[in-house]
Amino acid sequence: MTTKIPPMHEGEQAAQAPINTALTPEQKIAALREMLRIRRFEQQALNFYKQDKMGGFLHVYIGQESVAVAAASLMNGQDEMITAYRDHGHALAVGMGMEECMAELFGKATGCSKGKGGSMHFFAPDKHYWGGHGIVGGQVPLGLGLAFALKYKNIPGCALCFLGDGAVNQGPVSESLNLASLFDLPLVIIIENNGYSMGTSLERSSAIKNYLAERAEGYNMAWDLANGSNFYELRAKLHHVMERARKESKPCILEVSTYRYYGHSIADANAKKYRTAEEIEAYKANHDPITLWQQQLLQEKVVTEAVITEIDDAAKQEAAASVAFADASPWPDPESIFEDVYSEINQGTHFFSDR
């Protein structure tokens, strides 16, 4: 007997799921706006990364925007979210501001982490957003802890924990599956399967029967698949597993097929070597989640082309403004290196310094 969740609300049927028919036009437009905001934000970040306005890595989410936006659209104020280093999309989706995020990329004092975390380490606990984690798979045990805390506190929410297809092979992820199932925790694990971990295709990183999510079977845990290009399907499937987590306190894995257009990070010199240009273009042409959502909304007459352009222009302007904000913001004070290490106010007395 499989633990796969029985088929429901897939493909064209997904629009009919109650969670989707309940959407107002405003909500549908809001989802489009969020996706566009993420894309425009990251495109700006890309530009300024190339101009050396930021350092380190920049892992862009472009191509995957639907996933974070669908998940965030279902959060009810009692749910929690955590993800890996490809975290800008999730951050904006839960409501973090472009300015604080861009300023963080610029390493400025006005950044969401005061310039201390950088691209991989965005956090907004007030928005139920727990990062932004740089070590592959490392966020999953933490997500388990979020789910544990929800249950412990009798809060009927769920913890949404995102990870990549490559991350599934980290040991702590497997350990977490066992614990989540054993303890019946409201943990929703979302594998954003974009087919690659850096330059390694799924086939070269993972021994599986058919799907990564199928590993849930070994832990007697429910699992399902979703098409990341279909916003309605994503919402329907996510809603189902989130409700199951909230109401029955049961974990599951949802594997979402998606794609990233850029290299692993912007430092990825090989971005075009392990994939063909055709593969990338085919995805952009046929599966782009934003394009498809726009088409859907046009078809539903929820928007016109003009409205789309208006929303997009606003997103572009907001992104440009966030760059201006970041650029104009001050660097953190050198003394701030020593701040925020420990929770005490007067930290100087508490730890070693060579100064």
């Binding site: 702590p172 350990e175 730890f351």
Partner: protein
């Protein structure tokens, strides 16, 4: 004051805090139904139930990470490592999550967790089970590290650690669990970062933490009775925050420093204390800062040899005499 064991002192600290604060819970392998591999959590599962005292599978990475996640949400997990030696299978969770999240979030997130368990050699369990990683932990800004030597300190420091808003790595010692000492009933705290002069002296400072404090005290007694040397014994108690002032004051008084440390010497806690004294009390020293540590090899199994591998009062005395 009641005389109780180090084990019981810890147990009382847990019971106090479990009672006082609903957000405190204990977690680890065999901590609940089995009462703890070393019986430190004895009776607590029966008293507080499965929600507050939680048994786990053998998955240190996952349950340490669970602790971090739960702590970020405001709970106060007290996570047992059956041995600190097992920390290495969950080391990423300790260093990168517990140790870095506060900083990387610009101070938005606290991780009020205690990670506890025995960290010691001397019990014939071989190299894999005899690690003393307090130096790795104390090296990591963001983590706090505590190592009590007595039942009194164990209880007071544990209560403080549970109430602390940062992750505290609490280093216990299986060889001390049965030690008996005076421990007040009820709650009391000992602040982290305050060393304790366990014996006053004028001629040499013996500086130690954990069980090495007892070795130092035994050595001090021999030095006094057999050699007429008055040794001061400084018990660090807390390694990070470190009470640098207490160390420097003692050295300023005695002008000689000998560090006693059960962990390995290369980049050990004693290296750090030696470096501190060498830099900041150079003019006070009448002799080189020196150390007695675990002999520098993986922990040996053989019973008589393992005893020799850890600092003994005799080795401390012999080394001390070279400084006069």
């Amino acid at each position: 004051m009641p005389l109780i064991t180090y084990r019981k002192a810890l147990n009382e600290a847990f019971a106090e805090e479990l009672t006082r604060d609903e957000s405190v819970f204990l977690m680890g392998e065999e901590v609940a139904e089995y009462n703890g591999a070393y019986k430190v959590t004895e009776g607590l599962w029966e008293r507080f139930g499965s929600k507050r005292v939680v048994d786990t599978p053998i998955s240190e990475a996952a349950f340490l990470g669970l602790g971090v996640g739960a702590a970020m949400m405001g709970l106060r997990p007290v996570v047992e490592l059956m041995f600190w030696s097992f920390a290495y299978v969950g080391f990423d969770q300790i260093i990168n999550n517990a140790g870095c999240v506060r900083y990387m979030s610009g101070g938005l997130i606290n991780v009020p967790m205690v990670i506890r368990g025995p960290a010691n050699g001397g019990t014939n369990v071989g190299a894999t089970h005899s690690h003393t990683p307090e130096n790795f932990l104390a090296n990591t800004p963001g983590l706090k590290v505590v190592a009590p030597a007595t039942p009194y300190d164990a209880k007071g420091l544990m209560i403080s650690s549970i109430r602390d808003n940062d992750t505290v790595c609490f280093m216990e010692n299986t060889l001390l669990y049965g030690d008996i000492g005076e421990v007040p009933e009820g709650s009391y705290t000992i602040p982290l970062g305050v060393a304790d002069i366990k014996r006053e002296g004028t001629d040499i400072s013996l500086i130690a933490h954990g069980r090495a404090v007892l070795t130092a005290l035994a050595a001090a007694e021999i030095l006094a009775t057999e050699h007429g040397i008055s040794a001061e014994v400084v018990d660090l108690r807390s390694i990070r925050p470190l009470d640098e002032e207490a160390i420097l004051n003692s050295v300023a008084k005695t002008h000689r420093a000998l560090l006693v440390d059960e962990s390995k010497p290369f980049c050990g806690i004693s290296s750090q204390i030696a470096a501190l004294i060498a830099e900041q009390a150079f003019d006070e020293l009448d002799a080189p800062v020196t150390r007695v540590t675990a002999l520098d090899a993986p922990a040996i199994y053989s019973m008589p040899l393992e005893k020799l591998q850890l600092p003994t009062p005799e080795r401390v005395v012999a080394k001390a005499l070279t400084l006069f």
